[in-house]
Assembly symmetry: C2
Homo-oligomer: 444 residues x 2
Amino acid sequence: MEDPLTRKLHLNAFLMGVGHHEAAWRHPRTEPARLTDVRHYQELARIAERGRLDSVFLADGVALNGDVRHNALDRLEPLTLLSALAAVTDHIGLIATVSTTYNEPFHVARKFASLDHISGGRAGWNIVTSAGEAEARNFGVVRPSHADRYARAGEFLEVVRKLWDSWEDDAIVGDRAGGHYADTGKIHAIEHLGEHFSVSGPLNTSRTPQGHPLLVQAGSSEDGKEFAARHAEAVFTAQQTLADGQEFYADLKRRLAAHGRRHEDVLILPGISPIIGSTEREALRLEKELEDLIIPAYGLAQLSRMTGLDLTEDDLDAPLPDVPAETDGAQSRRKLVVDLARREHLTVRELIGRLAGGRGHRVVAGTPAQIADQMQEWFMNGAADGFNVMPPILPGGLSDFVDYVVPELQVRGLFRYEYEGRTLRGNYGLPRPGSRYAALAVAP
Amino acid sequence: MEDPLTRKLHLNAFLMGVGHHEAAWRHPRTEPARLTDVRHYQELARIAERGRLDSVFLADGVALNGDVRHNALDRLEPLTLLSALAAVTDHIGLIATVSTTYNEPFHVARKFASLDHISGGRAGWNIVTSAGEAEARNFGVVRPSHADRYARAGEFLEVVRKLWDSWEDDAIVGDRAGGHYADTGKIHAIEHLGEHFSVSGPLNTSRTPQGHPLLVQAGSSEDGKEFAARHAEAVFTAQQTLADGQEFYADLKRRLAAHGRRHEDVLILPGISPIIGSTEREALRLEKELEDLIIPAYGLAQLSRMTGLDLTEDDLDAPLPDVPAETDGAQSRRKLVVDLARREHLTVRELIGRLAGGRGHRVVAGTPAQIADQMQEWFMNGAADGFNVMPPILPGGLSDFVDYVVPELQVRGLFRYEYEGRTLRGNYGLPRPGSRYAALAVAP
C-alpha cells in the first residue's frame, strides 16, 4: 500500500457537453452551440492538463435518451473526439466509454490500441453495458438481461485483452538491411472460442505504449461490483454520503483478494459536482441560479429515467411516493435516489433540484477551501482514492476547479504539482501489464 | 457538366504507412518506426494541404493480412487516426475506409457524423465489404459470399443515410430563455426494418456540416460498379492503360442514368504511383532501388493474395502460368494482373516488380512534367476526373509530388491554387444533400 504521507489524490474531469447540471445549457456562462464544436472539448482538455489532472472522461450511449426538447443531449462519439484531444495535449489521460453490448471485441481492441498509440499511452476504456430499450432498438435486438449483459462483457473484455497481448513488446524487429520486419514468433493468434465470441486474431495493430489501455468501470450493482473487482483499475461511483462512500470503498477493496488482486490495484473515484464560489454565498447563489433554470417536466422525466419509475404525473410538492421492488436495469441508481429523498425528507421538486447537478452524484457547493475539505475528508477516511470531477457548467466550472480548488489541494500536499508519469497508467500509479504470450514463451 | 476550360483535377493522397511500394520500409528515405506515430500522419496531412489536395485517404482491413515477417503491415485504425489529423489541419478532406460486413450502421453513422463535426465538414467514407477468410475468423462467422456482402452493404448504407438525415438542419432551436433546446418535430425516428437491419433511430448526434459525409467506393467488380453507380460520389480504381481507364470511366458514367444520377455526380479517380526524379534517369534509379529491395518470397505471397492463386512455388523467371477460371472475391484485381503479365510478356519476377509499386495501380516513373503529362492525358481523354495519388515512399514521395508535380499541374491550369470550398464536398464540387425528412415535411 502507498505511504499515507505521500499518497496523492487522483482526479478525473468528466466532460459532459456544456456542463453536468441539467440546466447548464440555459446558464449565461455556457454556450450550447459549442456542443458539437471540437474546440470546446480541446479547451476543456487543455484546462484539465493545466491543472495536472490525471484524465478526462467521456460518457456515451448509443441512442438519443432523454427529452431533447428541454436539454442539449446530442453528443459526439467519444473515441473520435478523444483522438482530436490527444492531438492538442501531451499529458492528460483520455478515457472513452464504449459498450460491450452491441460491439465486436476486435473493433474495440483495435480502436483503443489506436488511441493509445496516437496519444502516446494515454488511452482508457470505461467499460459499460447497454441497458436501455432505445439502444436495443438501434441494433434490432431484444434488450438483453442484466446478467446476460455482464456475461457478455466479461468474455468481451477477455478477448480484447488477448488481442492487446497478441503482439509482444519486442515483436517488431525492423531489420531493414536483412528485410526482417517482425518476428512472427512474437505475434500470436489468440484462437479464442467462447460462449459469445470466436476470434482468431492477432490484432493488426502492434503492441501499444501502455500494453493495455487503462480499464475503467462504473456499475454499482452486484454484478457491476464483481466485474470491477475482477477487471477494473479505476472505478467511478455515485455516493451521496461519507458513510455510503466508505461502505462502497471497503466492499469493493475487500472483493479484490478473491481475484488475486491487491488493495492498490484499483482506484475508487466517487463523483463530485463542485459548485464553486469565492464565498459560500456566491456558490449557493450559482447553485440557486441553476436550480431555477430546471424545467419541471424535464426534471420529472429524468427522475423517472433514473429510477425506472413513471413519476411524470406526480405532484412536485409532495414527498416521493412509495416505490415498488427493484427491477432489472437501474437498481443501484434507484436505491441511491430513494435513500436521498427519504434521508432528507425531500419533496419531488426538491429531489429534482438535488439530482439535477450530478444525476445522483454528490453536489458540493462552497468555497474552494470548503470543497477541498470535503474531498480531503473522503480521501483520508477510506471513501476515495480520488474523484471524478463533474463541473456543473463547462468550461467555467472546470477552470474554476483548476484555478482555485487544485491549488488548495496542492498546498495541503494532497495533489501533484507536476505529472509523475509519461502515460495514464504512470500518473494513476498503476503497472504496465506484460503480454500473456511473452510470459508463456519464457516458461521452461 | 463542367466547362472543359475550367474543369479541374481532383487529387486524393492515399496514405499508406511509410509508402505504397512493398519495399518502402527498407528504403533509406523512410522511417518504419514512425508507422504508429501520429506525427508521421499529421506531417503527411499537412503536406497534402500545403499542395491544396482535396483529401487524404486511409485504407483498412480487420485482420493482419500478408506476411509481416517481410513488410511493415501493422496499422492504426482510420477513424481514430483521421480525428487526430483533423485537429492539425483546416482544409484537407479526411476519408476513412470502414467495412459494412462486420459493423453496425448505427455505430458507423455516428462515428462519421462525429468526424464530420470534428473536422468542420471534411469527412468521407470509403465503403468496403470484408472479403477475407482471416477477417471472417476475427468475427466468428463464415466468410460471406460476394453477393451477400454487397446486399448487406446496400442496406447498411441506406440505414446510415437515414440516420444522417434523422436530425434536420434546423432541428436545434437553442432557445435558452424559453427552455426549448430542439424541435422534436425535426428529429425523426427512422424505423428502418429490412432484411439485414432493424434500426429505430434517431441518431444521438446532430446534423453535420456536410449533411452526409462524402461517399467513396473502390470495388471494380460488376457488383462493385453497380454499387458505385447507385451510391458513390468518388470512385477509386486501379487501371493500367489509358484504354482500360477510358473503358472503366465510360462504363461507370453510363450506368449513372439508370439511377437518376448525372455524369458530374461521381468523380472517378484512378490510382497513380508517381516515382519522381528531377531527371527521368533519377526517377528510374529510384524505381530500381525500390525494386532491388523487394524480397522475392514476399512478392510471391503478395501475388498469390492479389490473384487468389497459389504461386508461392512458382519459378520466378518463367512467365505467369495459365490461370483457372475466376472465383469469388478477387476477380477484378486478378484480371488486371493477368492482363498486365500477358500484355507485356512479363516473367513472374518482373510482374512482382511491376506490382510492388502500387499493388496493381499504375506506376509512372519520370520527371514532374512527364508525370503531369500522363495525368493530363487521362484527364483530357475521358479516363479520369482526378487521381488517387499513391506515393511509393512517405513522406518524401508526397512532398516531391506536392512541391514539383502540383505546380506543374497548376501552371497548366489543371489544378487549383487555393481551396474553393469550405468542406470536402465543396472542394470536390459536389452538392450538400438535404434531409429526406425535411423534404417530406414541406410536401403539401
